[in-house]
């Protein structure tokens, strides 16, 4: 076992005890929320990196609505992980959804149904290879735009993806922007996702404003850490973070030197 310096985010997501499962997020749904001031895309990068570097039997299906492959490739390369090589090894599947747009009124559901078929096809193949799979969606709000604002279609797709967590033991990780829904507009999407999520990661700017040393704060809510006596305990972690090119630095408030 090589030495790893796990940080608070690993601990909060349960990524540090890699003896337990082939991939600790198996069967779990992680919802990541952020806002305009503080982007939480780095959480996805971090999960990607951990999945590839610490868990050799894991595979990732990535639905990119927001950034191109070359962007993620460059970001992950600086984190010490070669996405292009992983893609060639059959551990990384990148679905480029940047130009994806559901057709108009005429053929409802057609677009997203085909997306799910694509997902399922990849998952079944990977499942036969005994890989532990993560499905990552990099931006639900873009998915909504692609679906022409039809919340029902989006929720259907997300629910289907969520069923895969129990059916195949996949991990499902999605990013959404919380502040869009704060005024109650189409809040169903975020509320249902928050309800379904096993782990909720919220990124917020510091209340005192931005600073060079602290880029924001994370709150990680783990809804079912233990099932002792049938009671699921909710565990929360609060910490500050600083994003660097080669990783992130997590620390409790006030403990940064």
């Amino acid at each position: 076992m090589e030495q790893k310096n796990w940080n608070l985010l690993d601990e909060a997501l349960g990524l540090h005890n890699n003896n337990a499962k082939p991939w600790p997020l198996c069967g779990r749904f992680v919802l990541v929320e952020d806002c305009v001031d503080t982007s939480a895309a780095f959480v996805l990068h971090h999960i990607l990196k951990r999945s590839f570097s610490s868990y050799p039997s894991s595979a990732v299906l990535f639905l990119a609505f927001c950034h191109t492959f070359s962007h993620y490739d460059r970001v992950l390369r600086k984190l010490g992980c070669n996405l292009a090589a992983q893609r060639d090894n059959g551990r990384f599947f990148f679905l480029d959804m940047l130009m994806f747009q559901c057709p108009g009124e005429g053929k409802p559901n057609y677009g997203l149904a085909s997306v799910f078929e694509q997902i399922e096809r990849v998952i079944t193949v990977l499942h036969q290879e005994k890989k532990s799979i993560s499905i990552i969606i990099d931006d639900i709000s873009f998915l909504e735009v692609a679906a022409n604002g039809s919340s029902d279609d989006v929720l259907n797709l997300l629910h289907y993806c969520h069923t895969l967590t129990s059916e195949y033991g996949c991990a499902f990780i999605a990013l959404d922007h919380k502040d869009i829904y704060l005024n109650g507009d189409r809040a169903a999407v975020i509320l249902e996702m928050e309800y379904l999520a096993d782990i909720l990661v919220k990124a917020e700017p510091l209340a005192t404003g931005l600073s060079k040393d602290v880029h924001g704060q994370l709150m990680v809510l783990d809804k079912e850490t233990q099932h002792q006596h049938g009671i699921s305990a909710i565990k929360t972690y609060d910490f500050h973070f600083k994003i660097k090119e080669n990783g992130i630095e997590c620390f409790y408030p006030g403990t940064k030197i």
Partner: protein, 358 residues
Amino acid sequence: MAATRARVSSFSRNVSTVTSQNPGLKHGPNGTMFISSGIPDLDKILGGGFSLGSLVMVMEDEEAPHHMLLLRNFMSQGLVQKQPLLYASASRDPKRFLGTLPSPPSSKGDKSSDISHEKDIRIAWQYKKYFGEPNFNTNSGGQQDYCNDFDLRKPLDRHFFSGNNVDCVSIKDSLNLTALQDYCAGFLGKLSRNEGNISSVGRIAIQSFCSPQCKYSNEEWHMLSFVRSLKSMARSSNAVVVVTFPPSLLSPSCSLRLQHMADTLLSVRAIPDEDKELAKLLTGYQDMIGLLNVHKAARLNTQVPVILEATTFSIKLQKRRFLVLECLNQAPVDGSSGSSYGTSGGCSGSTKGGTLDF
């Protein structure tokens, strides 16, 4: 060869220099390229300019046309460098807007020497030897500069925009955005990114995107999907897209969605003429014409956010001609002229005696 060598190691630091083959381009960090925004100060604030392939959104002040200042300089800079331009606005005749674009100051004229003279006298004479020869002429005139100072009172020469590299589209009467989307797709298709050198870069400027005179303005999802596809198209091309929109005319969630889509997010605000309290608080209030906020700076190919020293800047006109952005400076509390201390305090009788007054 140099390009491939640079890509092998991720530790090599890219030097921010103007490339020799294209003066309008600058190497940025993480393999990005910058083009100038047309405002030298804004370039400096953003670390070099607008990243190629990024979407810049400007939130308008609904009561003041300050976003036009940014847009004009952005367009002029492109035209001076002979870059293709696509301009779309809600006016009936968008071509006429080109006549209002500012021009770089003529190098032969007295203006450039004026500037350098003014800058000269600010430098104390003892330190002058450290500066060597004044090289202020890098900014004035000359079409091979990365960034020009634009004289807002002088219209751009016709020959810059009479060529066929300028497209103007009116979005006033179109029922939906498919026509504009096709225009943009065609425009960006010509600038698609391929490996190796960049032959030409383009600029798209869309003014008052969601303004109510457009017939699609109540179809928010249509507009959002247009901006989203515009962003995706820009990503794979050598172009920068600047879109200005009035956030107050949109629903808050729609405005926030647009803000999330933006790579670089700016907002402009006018400042009221006779705001006494603000005037007391800030130095140089009289010269300010507005405020610029930088909400987000583009972070392509990196996860590290750009943290700026300050996010609010004042927009000023230098000599009524040149657009400058400055950090806000808090005015010193001036005990001698401030009326609030001496006259209002009825309880302190000895104000005249002491210099310190509590």
